[in-house]
């Protein structure tokens, strides 16, 4: 067992560190029109340095980085205080799905533009009646010549207010129940029949939106996998969303170190000492846990219910460390933009990508083997 990093990965990390030190900008929130455009520019700049999708194959703009190198990249990225990724939904949710289930034509058409930020993707996952229970979704797609007509309503779609395209599941066989008869589609947010209604989040900015679809034409070329097999295809994406987790250790350790600095700069208040220490311990545990997962995956392991362990832990770690920072700041917390932004973002952690309650059920049933609750 070791934590030694090979020479090639050290060289890669040093290159990333140096490049970021010279290029990291301060950008307005990506949930504003101005900020969104600036973040697109940043994605293009990352792509020029071949740093936007390091783990992807070279032909799609990546550099075939190993899982470890990817984690090292993320650590450097957050330690440098670099901006959040406006292309995150595409890169970490749709991208892996296309690698697993897409056609060569789809990959060639979609991935390079995604990697450069030229096409930014929104996820169209939840519906008003289908949040955690995705299989209850009602939006439908019916066959037409050369493609499908999509109708229905999606909601809580992150990035949809300014993004170009979206991906999600639609019911294509109304005779089938639950997760059978669903198909995975990509669609244009500016197509005829699409209405996007931005929804302001707690910070007042439209971080997500509702999407109304009325007979929206989608060609066959934009179906991922076989019609009717959407649930199976989507499970890849769901695991990737929780596995997003894998990219976060740098973010938490960077935030924990900032918290320790904040605590020192405010005279090391004894009242918050234990919480500050626990936040650092949690971030360090999370980093080492990730190294363990990376080692396991490198030996051919799969991400299973561990994704839920991961998500349950980091969402509370994130919340705890931001809460602690606001408490240390006292009345000054209200106007501290950086900590407030991080805090508001951390509030969503126990909700998105499967709520705490869903994660706990998954851990209990799939990791611990407890019996399933009787369901209707």
């Amino acid at each position: 067992m070791d934590l030694d990093i090979d020479a090639e990965s050290v060289a890669f990390r040093d290159e990333v560190r140096e490049w970021l030190a010279a290029h990291v900008p301060t950008l307005p929130s990506m949930d504003t029109a101005e900020g969104f455009a600036a973040h697109r520019e940043w994605e293009a700049q990352l792509a020029d340095a071949r740093l936007s999708v390091v783990s992807w194959p070279r032909e799609y703009g990546g550099r075939d980085a190993s899982l470890l190198q990817w984690v090292l990249f993320e650590e450097e990225y957050y330690a440098a205080g670099a901006p959040g990724r406006v292309s995150q939904n595409g890169i970490f949710m749709l991208g892996p799905t296309l690698f697993a289930h897409g056609t060569a034509e789809q990959r060639d058409r979609i991935l390079p533009a995604m990697a450069r930020g030229e096409q930014v993707w929104a996820q169209a996952w939840s519906e008003p009646e289908a949040g955690s229970d995705i299989a209850a979704l009602r939006s439908s797609a019916v066959r037409t010549e050369g493609g499908w007509l999509l109708s229905g309503q999606k909601t809580w779609s992150s990035r949809a207010a300014f993004a170009d395209r979206a991906f999600g599941l639609f019911r294509t066989d109304p005779g089938e129940r639950r997760h059978r008869g669903l198909t995975y589609f990509m669609f244009d947010l500016r197509a005829e029949g699409v209405t996007v209604r931005p929804i302001p989040q707690l910070d007042g900015e439209p971080g997500f939106a509702e999407i109304f679809l009325d007979q929206v034409f989608v060609p066959d070329a934009d179906v991922i996998g076989e019609p009717g097999q959407g649930w199976r295809v989507a499970m890849t994406t769901a695991n990737n969303e929780r596995g997003l987790s894998l990219r976060s250790p740098g973010r938490f350790l960077a935030a924990a170190n900032r918290l320790v600095d904040l605590w020192r700069s405010t005279g090391e208040p004894a009242a918050s000492r234990d919480r500050v220490a626990d936040a650092w311990i949690g971030a360090r545990a999370y980093q080492l846990y990730t190294f363990g997962t990376v080692s396991r995956l490198a030996e051919g392991g799969q991400l299973g219910p561990e994704s839920s362990v991961n998500k349950l832990f980091w969402s509370h770690l994130d919340l705890g460390l931001h809460d602690t920072a606001l408490d240390i700041l006292g009345p000054a917390a209200e106007t501290d933009r950086a900590w407030v932004e991080g805090y508001l973002f951390s509030l969503a952690g126990p909700i998105y990508g499967g709520t705490d309650q869903i994660q706990r059920n998954t851990i209990a049933e799939r990791l611990l083997g407890l019996p399933k609750e009787a369901r209707r």
């Binding site: 067992m1 220490a277 650092w280 363990g292 561990e306 209990a364 049933e365 609750e373």
Partner: protein, 307 residues
């Protein structure tokens, strides 16, 4: 980087589990609490045959020259089975104390046991009545016991004794190895508490259903599993880096996770878990005692935050 146990380390853990499962460890532990040492001594001799006390002693002194990762693998198993005796002192601490060098071959073979005093974190010496070696860790010398009166512990299996002229201590490699071994023990105890609770939730029915079907139970156990899963890499990582900061982080997290496991286990088991007959109690009291021993949460959190 390969941050995962080797096949040899996994095999070592399996052989310890197999041995301790077949050796009536709970019976030996209960006898130990009453001062009847023979079943426990037999258990410890068996562990010596498997190499536990020899791990950190070099080959020139009859040991195995293994590393701290092997040590935490062993102590996780010892904590899981609630093995009694001064094992942290014998297998983790004494091998790093030069003054005890003459005793290393006897410790490695299992003929001798060591105990340690290091106030304020280890104010009393465990099992000093049967240990041949008493280490005064602050002075780095061999000490001696006087009285033979047991000082009662929260955990009846921890038989503690006063030692004269103990020298204050706050750190050092031998101390850190003791802390690391305790953290691993806590992790193991926590894992047993979770496993026992899961097994119980799968067979105990109430209101016509297995209690493991209820989300109220599931969510408690999922939280315990999550914290234990995140504790293990901290304990393993601290064994690799040996940094005081990581070792303290491991101790804090292992104490908290094991205590959550203990409280949850009692809640899931109900009154049966509160009885002395049930093996749950052997961990419940040990976990709480070890949470404060070898540096409490306050001390270790301060070390985590030290510049």
């Amino acid at each position: 980087m390969r941050f995962a146990l080797s096949p040899e380390q996994r095999d070592f853990a399996t052989s310890l589990h197999d041995y301790l499962t077949g050796a009536d460890t709970p019976g030996a532990t209960r006898s130990w609490a009453q001062g009847r040492h023979e079943p426990g001594r037999k258990l410890l001799r068996g562990l010596a045959e498997l190499g536990v006390p020899a791990l950190l002693i070099d080959e020139a002194h009859g040991g195995l020259g293994a590393d701290p990762v092997d040590l935490v693998v062993a102590f996780e198993a010892l904590g899981y089975h609630a093995v009694p005796g001064p094992l942290v002192e014998t297998a983790a601490v004494a091998p790093a104390v030069p003054a005890a060098q003459a005793w290393w071959p006897a410790l490695a073979s299992g003929e001798a046991l060591a105990t340690v005093v290091a106030p304020p974190h280890v104010p009393l010496a465990l099992d000093a009545d049967i240990a041949q070696v008493v280490v005064d860790l602050g002075a780095g010398t061999l000490g001696e016991t006087t009285g033979t009166e047991v000082v009662g512990s929260l955990d009846p299996t921890r038989r503690l004794f006063r030692v004269p002229s103990a020298t204050p201590l706050t750190g050092g490699r031998a101390f850190d190895l003791g802390v690391l071994a305790v953290a691993a023990q806590l992790l193991g105890a926590g894992q047993w508490l979770l496993d026992a609770s899961v097994a119980y939730a799968k067979q105990r029915s109430q209101y016509g259903r297995l209690i493991g079907e209820y989300q109220a139970i599931k969510h408690l156990l999922a939280d315990v599993a999550t914290h234990l899963e995140l504790t293990r890499p901290l304990v393993h990582g601290a064994a690799v880096t040996a940094s005081p900061q990581d070792i303290s982080a491991a101790k804090v997290k292992a104490g908290d996770a094991a205590y959550l496991a203990a409280r949850t286990a009692l809640q899931v088991h109900g009154a049966i878990g509160y009885t002395a007959e049930h093996d749950l109690g052997l961990r419940l009291t040990k976990v709480r005692a070890l949470t404060g021993a070898w540096g409490d949460g306050r001390f270790h959190r301060e070390r985590v935050l030290a510049r």
